[in-house]
């Protein structure tokens, strides 16, 4: 993988980010509806409103406001949250690890589940097993993550599965306050297995809800890629070598099917991250998605801006990572 390629991608991300910032700015100011109306609580006086306008620079012209806004962003200043009266950057960074861990667990689930489905479908090619895998993938894909989340909750309630928590991130009785937000990793490193187990258990349902649609997509794309790889000469060669069908599918074909699958499904990972907004809300999971909905409900303009930008940065970062993993997986790119 060449560094110039990476650098180029990084540079290309800047105008996209700029565009995102501009659109958020315009959306929140030009669209009908006074932004200050989102800021004021009930019972605010005219003077309060004027004061707020001045405080947030809303008495300046739109163009000037945009310049100030960009200057602040460039300096890492996302403003102050109105509802929480705290620095937006601090708030977001405090919650970001929660969402990152949730997404990573969800991604592992999606890759494991989707991979298993794809391999099973490829192994049983042309037999009822393949049709079952296809049907399952189609069904899973038709139902969005937030409905899966609600279905899981229903399931837990109806069947009284009290062991599976449906809200929060860690049990109240577990006395564990991490120094970082990465509770899963930190509890594991500090050998607090009770805390690790509790966080993991709280993460299972939201992670599965987020993972299912991605798993279905991975299953479909990977199965097609494996089928394509299975027609190649080196598979014939592997049969002549005397390898079992399981080994041929899992080692010889799967490895070569990974590259196209990563490029085709990597972008879907952004949908998983976007899904945290609702899924975290539904499971009262304290990440940035949950925070975003609260910010909207509280009409916390600076926080909304900060969160939307954070998501955009995450999306762009994922796309970059996908490109990099593509280069890493493909020996031709690594050496070429």
């Amino acid at each position: 993988m060449s560094w110039s390629f990476l650098l180029r991608r990084l540079l290309l991300a800047i105008p996209t980010l700029f565009g995102v910032a501009a659109i958020v700015f315009v959306l929140l100011r030009v669209v009908p509806g006074d932004p200050i109306a989102m800021l004021i609580g009930p019972g605010a006086t005219e003077r309060d409103i004027a004061e707020l306008r001045r405080l947030y620079g809303l008495d300046e012209s739109i163009a000037l406001q945009f310049v100030y806004y960009l200057q602040d962003l460039a300096g890492g200043n996302f403003g102050t949250s109105i509802s929480m009266r705290q620095d937006v950057m601090e708030l977001v960074l405090g919650r970001l690890p929660v969402t990152i861990e949730l997404c990573l667990v969800a991604m592992l689930v999606a890759v494991g589940l989707g991979g298993a489905m794809a391999v099973a479908g490829a192994y049983w090619r042309g037999r009822p097993g393949e049709a079952a895998v296809d049907g399952a993938a189609g069904f899973i894909l038709a139902i969005p993550d937030f409905l899966w989340a609600l279905l899981f909750i229903l399931f837990v309630v109806v069947f009284a599965l009290d062991g599976l928590p449906i809200s929060g991130r860690i049990g109240h009785d577990v006395g564990f306050r991490g120094a970082t937000g990465f509770l899963l990793i930190e509890s594991l490193l500090r050998l607090r297995f009770d805390a690790f187990g509790s966080v993991l258990l709280h993460t299972v349902l939201p992670a599965f809800a987020l993972a299912l649609p991605l798993a279905a997509i991975i299953a479909r794309v990977l199965k097609t890629s494996i089928a394509e790889a299975m027609t190649q000469d080196y598979i014939l060669m592997a049969r002549v070598k005397g390898f079992s069908r399981a080994r041929i599918v899992c080692r010889e074909a799967l490895r070569n099917a990974l590259v196209p699958t990563v490029t085709l499904t990597g972008v879907q990972f952004t949908f998983l991250v976007g899904g945290t907004v609702l899924v975290e809300k539904i499971f009262s999971y304290p990440g940035i998605g949950n925070m975003a909905i609260d910010a909207v409900i509280n009409r916390d303009l600076p926080l909304i801006q900060g969160l939307v930008l954070t998501f955009a940065v995450l999306f762009i970062a994922i796309n970059l990572l996908v490109d990099m993993s593509y280069a890493l997986l493909n020996p031709r790119m690594r050496h070429g």
């Binding site: 565009g19 669209v31 509806g33 609600l150 909750i153 907004v277 409900i297 009409r299 909304i304 955009a312």
Partner: protein, 297 residues
């Protein structure tokens, strides 16, 4: 095919009759269409078939369980909610809102996306660059969050929901239509239209659009499914309509609050959303199968 040969020089490779026949022969089209029709009929005749007023509260009748449970209240097939409102009636009126939003939002997204996609694909050059860049930036947003923010800014109400869906999902139409238009542009019939001296807009409108149409029908159907979901999401976070208005999303949100006392509050609206979305997906996929050979010509 035989019909195609019977139409000398016809631009449509298949007669309308044969397209309809092939649709009726497709299992997914029939199944999806039937479920869609079921919901559409419920929506249209809601005032006639709903046994109760969907917003009428009866605090003496809270949490009446559905008929299959013990202690069911006669006359309330699916039970009542936390305010004693009839769930069946609310579901029926909820179908009205769901389908209305689905059709109008998908149409709005389709119009915007198709217009931009046609322009980008046909004109190319800087127009294409600008529009493609815009699509790319749009894709960098979390769609759900953006729709929530949009509705929050514009204020709750159906029109906000529809505008929000259109403002976010136009990219789906734009990307596909752009690619298809670029492909169609290479075809002979466009070249011959150019040599005959037809204007650009004329060619776009009369020559390219009809050929992109089958694709648009498929996209529209699939977008309806997405719109149903987004509307449910927005009602769920209490941004679609006033909360006593019966939308499926509101019902799900209420059900989530009282899930421990009355799990059936949530089951039925979720099943309705899933059934309608599955039906629209099946219809869209089926139509894709049926219309695909036409598109490839």
């Amino acid at each position: 095919m035989a019909e195609a040969a019977a139409v000398p020089g016809g631009s449509l490779p298949h007669g309308q009759g044969s397209a309809l026949r092939r649709m009726l022969a497709n299992r997914r089209v029939v199944l999806g269409g039937a479920v869609l029709l079921f919901f559409a009929l419920a929506a249209v005749f809601a005032p006639l078939i709903a046994p109760h007023d969907p917003v009428e509260q009866d605090l003496l009748l809270q949490y009446a369980p559905p008929v299959w449970a013990d202690r069911a209240e006669p006359g309330y097939l699916f039970g009542t909610d936390n305010l004693g409102r009839d769930i069946l009636s609310r579901l029926i009126y909820g179908a009205q809102i769901a389908l209305f939003v689905a059709v109008t939002a998908a149409a709005a997204a389709g119009l915007l996306g198709t217009a931009l996609g046609l322009l980008a694909g046909y004109l190319g050059g800087w127009v294409d660059t600008v529009i493609s860049r815009l699509v790319e930036i749009w894709m960098a947003f979390p769609a759900v969050l953006l729709s929530i923010v949009l509705v929050a800014v514009m204020g709750t109400g159906l029109h906000s929901v529809i505008i929000a869906i259109a403002a976010i999902d136009w990219t789906r139409f734009c990307r596909v239509v752009r690619a298809e238009t670029m492909a169609q542009k290479q075809q002979d019939y466009v070249a011959s239209a150019v040599t005959v001296g037809l204007g650009r807009m004329h060619i776009l409108w009369r020559e390219i659009l009809p050929n992109v149409l089958p694709l648009l029908i498929v996209l529209f159907t699939l977008e309806m499914g997405i719109a149903v979901i987004v509307e449910a999401i927005l009602s769920y976070v209490n941004l679609s309509l006033a909360s006593d208005f019966p939308t499926w999303g509101t019902m799900i949100a209420d059900g989530r609050k009282y899930v421990n006392q009355a799990p059936w509050l949530m089951i039925l609206p979720i099943l309705c959303v899933i059934a309608l979305v599955l039906a629209l997906n099946a219809l869209g996929d089926g139509l894709k199968d049926v219309l695909d050979p036409v598109m490839r010509k």
